[in-house]
Point group: C2
Chain length 195, copies 2
Amino acid sequence: MAAAELFHAKGYNAVGVQEVCRAAGANKGSFYHFFDSKESLMTAVVGEGRRTPLMFDPRVFDETPALDVLLLLYAGLAAEVQAQYARSGHVQGCPIGSLVAEVATQSEPIREAASRALTHMRHMNKELVERAVREGDLDANLDAEAVAARLVAYVQGALLLSKTQNEPGVLESLRSGYLMLLGLDPNDPEAERSA
Amino acid sequence: MAAAELFHAKGYNAVGVQEVCRAAGANKGSFYHFFDSKESLMTAVVGEGRRTPLMFDPRVFDETPALDVLLLLYAGLAAEVQAQYARSGHVQGCPIGSLVAEVATQSEPIREAASRALTHMRHMNKELVERAVREGDLDANLDAEAVAARLVAYVQGALLLSKTQNEPGVLESLRSGYLMLLGLDPNDPEAERSA
DNA sequence: TGACGACTTGACCGATCGGTATAGAAAGGT
DNA sequence: ACCTTTCTATACCGATCGGTCAAGTCGTCA
């Protein structure tokens, strides 16, 4: 949906229903035939987004060592930020993070949808951490649930900082913290498998 | 200024100049005598905020071991989130983080003001880390600059997660990650000095 | 006293907001 | 052929948006 990009680029309140319709080549009347309100569109967009969080072929996802997947996910985000910046001149950050920061206190349905999306991310991270432990790449007495939550927080914060400074390189310079939260030594070659 | 609380509670685009004026007991005409635009008000508010980031008496700030200050800062944020929630039923997150997520791509002046504020936080953290190293409480071969940046990112992320789930307890459950980024073992009694 | 600048007031501007109403165009079933 | 249902098109609603304006109040200094 074209709406997703608009909301991501400009924010929820800064984009009007009219503008969304024009971008989608439709009319306002049609829009309100399919959606109850602007809010329900936004909720749908946030829910839909769960399709594209993994930027990989699911097959390589399963065949690749879990620690590598975790590192690739971070690298993929860093690359995505670079792409945003190259395309628009602005680091736009995480679509979910940015939107929830804006509307969490304003719309419960949207907040809940965003919360579910981030919980989904946490679960995915948790499974990856557990698998990485099983594969012997991470310390065995890590609390996978806690690590996963820390990673999500850290990544969201890194994206927000990058957006704040409008400098796409921030994620690279914060990568070492991501490794620390995984219980790895940032100066250790073990972490260099996909730098 | 009353405007700060309104913007923090509802966001930039969701609050009109009218509403700000009414809350401040003024008229719109008067407002535009003091500010060029809504944007310049917001920029001023963000700049002003630098006065209240340290929630302590500056004297105890200097007399307390730096590591304790770092831990107290985190605890203070956690308490602030609890207070927000108790007051309004919503976790509102960081005023700067929330606003910059909303308007970074929409207003350069506001984005720059927010960026300066977060840079200020980073500098403060850096000095605290350096002092804590000097006081022997942190590992001596930490890169203070890098640690400071990681802490800011992590804290912003933790605040955003708490806001997303609208659960004030999230900061407490993420405290261990803050310790890890300081190079401490979360299960070590050393960290319990101000738990 | 009179004049001047600082500040307040409330009406007003065009534009846009989210949302609705209504009439008509396709599309499909029978 | 006919009717119903789905979808489109556009004009329109009251409200509010950010911002302006002319008129007026007020304290200050000469």
